[in-house]
Symmetry: C2
Subunit: 214 residues, 2 copies
């Protein structure tokens, strides 16, 4: 069965975004520090159409996270921060640009119904208004036997984690404090629903902690 | 100069003790899960006078944390949870027993003045009422050139971290969620004051993250 695979970068104090998030600053104050390890990688830069970059122990982790993914689920904030509703006068397409780096169908959890967006490079955004189970079901169908990526943010991920629907979780733990912002595990409870730590890849810039069912 | 070295076990969601801590249950609900990796180790069991136990990748980490320590600083909760004041009618000696596993002078941050306790095995408890700087200074003098261990709990550790007084920090990250309880980094702010991740030791039961100034 197609797995739901979640990956996210988190600070040592548990935040996945800094305070004062906005459309202009989607990562919040200091939130960029969570992703410094990724920004420098060639494999990550190429996703954004940029040349150059490093190859190191994190490369294989990123490559693994991208492999065999057929669809993505994300929360509304991850799509684009703008609260909606969207219409012809307000055609907000998120902050992913004309050619988003997904190249497969993306399902966005939202309270605002909207027609799907078909963008360049194979990425589509479908807006799901009837909850996490419906979004996951649609994503699994679209994935055609491949796995589904849970892209975040914290609120959407927390709902899937609390429901025990996540099959694999990769926490990219950044060696930094944000002090405030958006916590990943807020309200998730005290169980990982059988997810166990199965693999660690460590550098001085990030610790990749992979959780899965044995 | 003598270093202040902090070590603590923390859940993936940032708690160092579970909810509903009490004198009967000092680790709080679920808090024992933070220490399972240690409880099974021979090096840890021997500290508590118990035979047997495992030797694994965590052994060297624990041995390193114990080496070259001449004194310990801890918060009142870590000493014994009981709020005090203590007197002849209420001679609470903490939950460390007659022969605590420190074997050197321990300085307890408290608001209640009290005469020092001299226990078996070289452990003494001195109660310091004038704040974290005074306690650290007394501990450094008592350590006789060796380092000072900051034993926790969260509140005491947070004060030293926020003040930038910690020279080394070992986070033993347990692959579990507690959901609520006592957070390590609550109120510490958004800086580690130059502490960087310098070494990771990983098992499936714990991830040892060592932070220090380069």
């Amino acid at each position: 069965m197609s797995k739901l695979r979640f990956k996210i970068s988190m600070s040592l104090d548990g935040f996945v975004a800094g305070p004062s998030q906005s459309v202009q600053n989607p990562l919040g104050i200091g939130g960029g520090r969570l992703h410094e390890w990724a920004f420098e990688l060639a494999v990550f830069r190429s996703l954004l159409g940029m040349a150059g970059g490093a190859v190191n122990e994190s490369t294989a982790v990123v490559e693994e996270s991208l492999a065999n993914i057929g669809a993505t689920v994300m929360g509304r904030n991850m799509f684009g921060g703008h609260p909606g509703p969207w219409d012809a006068q307000n055609p907000w397409n998120g902050w992913w640009g004309a050619d988003p780096p997904f190249h497969h169908p993306v399902f966005v959890l939202t309270h605002h119904a909207r027609a799907p967006l078909q963008l360049e490079g194979g990425t589509s955004f479908t807006f799901v208004t009837d909850g996490i189970h419906a979004a996951l079901e649609q994503a699994r169908q679209a994935a055609g036997g491949k796995d589904v990526s849970l892209a975040g943010g914290a609120n959407a991920a927390g709902q899937y984690l609390a429901a025990g629907l996540v099959d694999e979780m990769e926490i990219n733990l950044a060696p930094t404090l944000l002090g405030s912002g958006e916590r990943l595990f807020e309200g998730v409870g005290d169980t990982l629903h059988g997810l166990e730590l199965v693999r660690t890849v460590a550098t001085t810039k990030v610790t990749h902690l992979k959780y899965a069912r044995r």
